[in-house]
Symmetry: C2
Subunit: 250 residues, 2 copies
DNA sequence: GACGGGTAGTTTGTTGAACAGTATGGTACC
DNA sequence: GGTACCATACTGTTCAACAAACTACCCGTC
């Protein structure tokens, strides 16, 4: 790390590396397999709600549609089922994941203990992380002002993802990314009033402020209220939806 | 659900169903794909430590060894990578997962908040579940008496799995099964004195007894001591191991 | 001797075709 | 109404082939 040349030429090696990093940093080469890109495309469709839950994904159909081989499609299916976006039944193929009331209950039963514990961990988190939470809330508020509920929903999820990341466990964070993806699936399905997510924004603001103030006991009850309300609203949302459709699971 | 025949022939339908269930209940038909069975076989080998961490799994080699097609092997690889037993690198294939010191640290950073929260949830858990924890400890003690350290390790993991299941979240339970599998991977690698797991047994006993007594504050500190000791011992175990080998990740 | 370049061999990624086995829906029959 | 049979659609699995990427090795150059 020390310069081995004359004074007129300080750290040429490091300079060149830094230069290269600066120039090449922007360009990003696609290093993904076809199966991954197929999975990306399908993920996009599923998350946007273009493919209704329960809809079977036929291999042959996708082969013609995407112009890739059957094996590649099947590999993409495996990737998606790892994220629980589709379910796989032997000899019956895969279908878009369909969450029922029990799933929502379990999702919140998952969020509750972990997010509550994240509040405890906020005690030792760097102040910068807590300020970032507040910044996310402000982004959500701006989005709400211009009626961009899609973005409000995204910010809500990112907020709680960041909250969980305060724990500092890479595994828990990755696990929560999947749980939050499932939650997004529900968002896409649910019959929702446009202000569904608007109700969460002020709660998140209060939560962020309480964490910054170090008032974790109050933050805990605020979070519990948030989760209770969220579960209630979403459960009601899917309940009006499940009138004549059947569930697919595993 | 009601009998539609005469009185001499009460609920013949139900009787026949019950009879059939009794007779057929014992026999279990193999409803798994070839890929799953291949994955099972490989999982067994990996968990038993037969395949050292970092060892590359060549498709062609396994095709000849197991007499299945390459595609099926690849499908099995996907299943295993979902459980994080192998890692997959594009164009480089898969290799047996190799955990380093950071992984162990992260595993315990994962266990700590969730298991601590499980203690809180033990307050509302049925007494039967807590008694089952105690029964598991007794099994471990018996195994320790006959120097069956393999089984002691298993019982330790099952104990903590059951503890986490007190939370009642199917997703958290499934997540922890994977984390515990990773932990087993470490067990298989680590240079361990035979009494490594023996030290955990009395701790687990105390833990179970404290939970039954409802003394959760004390149980919390007991669990923290257990986790601190576990992390310390395992970290030391892998540290003596990593002298000249290289890590594979992602 | 370190470095870069070419080259051959190995391994993976992907395709396409084929066949067997399983689910599904319908129709005829009792 | 229930059962058996049949045709169809789709999945699970195998096999052969080729392109692309990685690895290792040799070789000449500085």
């Amino acid at each position: 790390m020390t310069s081995r040349r004359g004074d007129g030429n300080i750290q040429p090696q490091v300079d060149r590396v830094a230069e290269a990093r600066r120039v090449l940093g922007s360009l990003r080469i696609d290093r993904s397999s076809t199966a991954e890109r197929v999975a990306d495309a399908l993920r996009e469709l599923i998350m946007r709600g273009e493919m209704p839950p329960g809809m079977p994904l036929r291999e042959h159909q996708l082969v013609e549609l995407l112009d890739v081989s059957r094996n590649t499609i099947r590999e993409a299916f495996r990737l998606l089922s790892r994220e629980r976006l589709v379910v796989h039944h032997l000899h019956r193929g895969v279908a878009v994941r369909q969450l029922d009331e029990d799933d929502i209950h379990d999702i919140f039963r998952t969020r509750r203990p972990i997010e509550l514990m994240a509040i405890e961990y906020s005690a030792t988190a760097p102040r910068r992380s807590l300020l970032e939470l507040l910044a996310l809330v402000e982004q959500a508020e701006e989005a709400a002002d211009r009626d961009d509920w899609e973005h409000v929903a995204t910010m809500d999820i990112v907020f709680h993802q960041r909250l969980v990341e305060l724990i500092g466990s890479e595994r828990i964070s990755a696990f929560f990314r999947i749980v939050h993806t499932e939650l997004r699936l529900v968002f896409g399905i649910v019959e929702r009033p446009p202000d569904l997510f608007a109700r969460f924004v002020p709660r998140n603001r209060r939560l962020a402020e309480l964490l910054l103030a170090g008032e974790r006991a109050t933050a805990t009850s605020e979070l519990e209220a948030y989760l209770d309300e969220g579960e209630r609203l979403l459960t009601r949302g899917v309940r009006v939806l499940f009138s004549g459709s059947d569930a697919v699971d595993s």
